[in-house]
Amino acid sequence: MAIKKFAVGCFDDEAVLFSAVKKVRTAGYKIHDVYTPMHIHGLDTAMGLRDTSLHIAGFFYGLSGTIIALGGITWIFTTDWPLNIGGKPHFSLPAWIPITFELTVLLSSIGMVLTFCYLCQMAPFVKKHHFHPRSTDDLFVMVIECTPKTNETEVLSYLQGLGAVETNIQVAETGWWLGSYAKDRKPFEKKETVIA
């Protein structure tokens, strides 16, 4: 993965964050991501993110569950090992619907959870850089990606002008790594706060 330079602005108010996100986008900065302690309605639209395709993947996982269940049971009960169960026909669709339903739900849910983990790059022992430890508590952290042309002090003062309570520049790994925070990084160490 790549190590990049980021300008980080922390906000303590949702309303301030919303207008800040809009202004930062119109100013032409590239928002890397916004980290919030909870889901904020409408933030994805404000950030201009596209709708997720997770549900489309879910549909196809479900469809494969339906096909596997119906196909599997049909093959077993009509061709491979036909059993006489209470005089019912070998091909008795109503009796198979519950299992088909279960397998559809099972495959679509497990598939979607795994896809979600893949999309968010989450797994046991996988670590990613934390821009601010309080982003899991009470701060909304907006991260702007810096390019070689970016004037750092200008970005930071711009963020402060938008109402950020804390701003700094961080050089961080964008991807994930295996291991622990203790060895590689110290996310909870005291960072310098730039006061313009």
Binding site: H41, G42, D51, H55, F59, G86, P94, A95, I97, P98
Partner: protein
């Protein structure tokens, strides 16, 4: 922004509702001449019974919608709640019509419809005799009257409570008291709803058409059917009123939620429908399978599969994606399809029992249905025009404006 608070009934709307009611009355007269006397009038009364019960339970589902959302402290429905209230006002005329039909059935001893109305049949049948404490004309009439009277009364009370908020802006303390009062009356209604639609009323009105047969799923299945069609009716009226330039605060987010409700309860309906069918099919006990004999492989087999396609496959596949629930055209189309689909479901519930050998569907049935649709349009439009369209002082109103799905 100035709000258009008062709905004015468009001329075409009024003409259409009058014309549909005219068609209804005309089919009633023609139907009575054609079918009124033959075979003790079974064909004629079955059609009336099916349509009146279906449309009564459907408009009553609108009432259930706003009382249930009141109880769950829902806010999203506030921007179009007056529309659901107006629909629920149709419980009054349709309830009266239904009661008149019941009186005619019981007084006319229509044992082609309810065979337990015939005393000789009941006395010669131990199973029916065992049920006669519940299935007898007196209990039937008293309970039906109580049901419809309380639906009407509580509906009037709830609508009156809703209009109380129009007087002036509320302080927080007043708002709390207002919400509490709403909660109390809504819970009274929900309790009565559970005692009627969710249990006894489908047994009395529909399941007793085949008095020997019973299913514990039946009431919930009927409820699922009518709630989906009630939501479809709400969607249609919301889209219509919005199209006429009212309901400024109702937008795609609210439509999306109505669509989600329709989707969810279509699945709910399928779940109960299939549970009822599959368990009976699997156990294969003749006294239970008798209900599905003519529906699954007899004259009603076509309707049986059509029912499943319209009411399950269509909403399941079409409503699954986000885009279709946020599309005014698709939601309108699907609402019409679902209303028709559940009308068909009720058709096979009633006619599958009273006329098991063939499907007698013709223009007469659609004419009667048109009459009821006209009546709903007329009454809903009248109530919509009478009172402000938005409860703008309701404590949760802002929640509905900023609603985001």
């Amino acid at each position: 922004m100035s709000l258009r608070e008062h709905f004015e009934i468009p001329k075409r709307y009024r003409t259409w509702s009058m014309a549909l009611m005219g068609v209804g009355v005309l089919s009633l007269i023609i139907g009575y001449i054609l079918y009124g006397s033959e075979n003790n009038g079974t064909r004629f009364w079955s059609a009336l019974l099916q349509n009146s019960i279906y449309f009564l339970l459907t408009v009553n589902a609108a009432m259930f919608f706003f009382t249930a959302t009141t109880l769950s402290m829902g806010g999203f429905q506030m921007s179009f709640r007056r529309v659901t209230e107006a629909i629920s006002a149709s419980v009054i005329p349709i309830g009266i019509i239904t009661l008149i039909i019941f009186i005619c059935l019981v007084a006319g001893k229509k044992d082609g419809i309810y065979d337990w109305l015939n005393k000789d049949v009941v006395n010669g049948d131990p199973a029916l005799k065992g049920k006669s404490g519940f299935l007898n004309p007196t209990f039937f009439m008293v309970w039906s009257f109580l049901t419809i009277a309380l639906w009407t009364g509580l509906g009037i009370k709830m609508r009156q409570l809703s209009r109380e908020s129009d007087v002036a802006k509320m302080s927080i303390e007043e708002g709390r008291r207002y919400i509490f009062k709403n909660t109390v009356w809504a819970s009274v209604y929900i309790v009565w709803f559970t005692l009627t639609v969710a249990s006894t009323v489908p047994w009395l009105w529909l399941m007793s058409l085949k008095a020997h047969w019973f299913s514990t799923m039946y009431s919930w299945y009927t409820f699922g059917s009518t709630f989906v069609s009630g939501l479809a009716l709400i969607a249609l009226f919301v889209v219509y009123v919005k199209n006429k330039g009212y309901l400024e605060y109702t937008n795609l987010e609210h439509l999306h939620d109505i669509g989600k409700f329709q989707f969810a309860f279509s699945i709910f309906w399928t779940y109960l429908w299939f549970d009822q069918f599959m368990l009976i099919w699997y156990a294969n006990i003749s006294e239970e399978t008798i209900y599905f004999k003519n529906r699954f492989e007899g004259a009603y087999a076509g309707l049986f599969y059509l029912n499943l396609i319209i009411n399950f496959l269509a909403p399941f596949l079409i409503y699954m994606s986000r885009g279709s629930k946020r599309n005014w055209t698709i939601v309108t189309l699907m609402s019409v399809v679902l209303l028709f689909g559940h009308w068909l479901d009720f058709y096979q519930m009633v006619f599958g029992s009273t006329m098991p050998d063939h499907v007698p569907m013709n223009l007469f049935d659609f004419g009667i249905a048109a009459g009821f649709i006209g009546l709903i349009m007329w009454q809903t439009g009248r109530v919509l025009a009478k009172y402000p369209l938005m409860a703008k002082n309701h404590p949760f109103f802002k929640e509905s404006i900023i609603h985001h799905t």
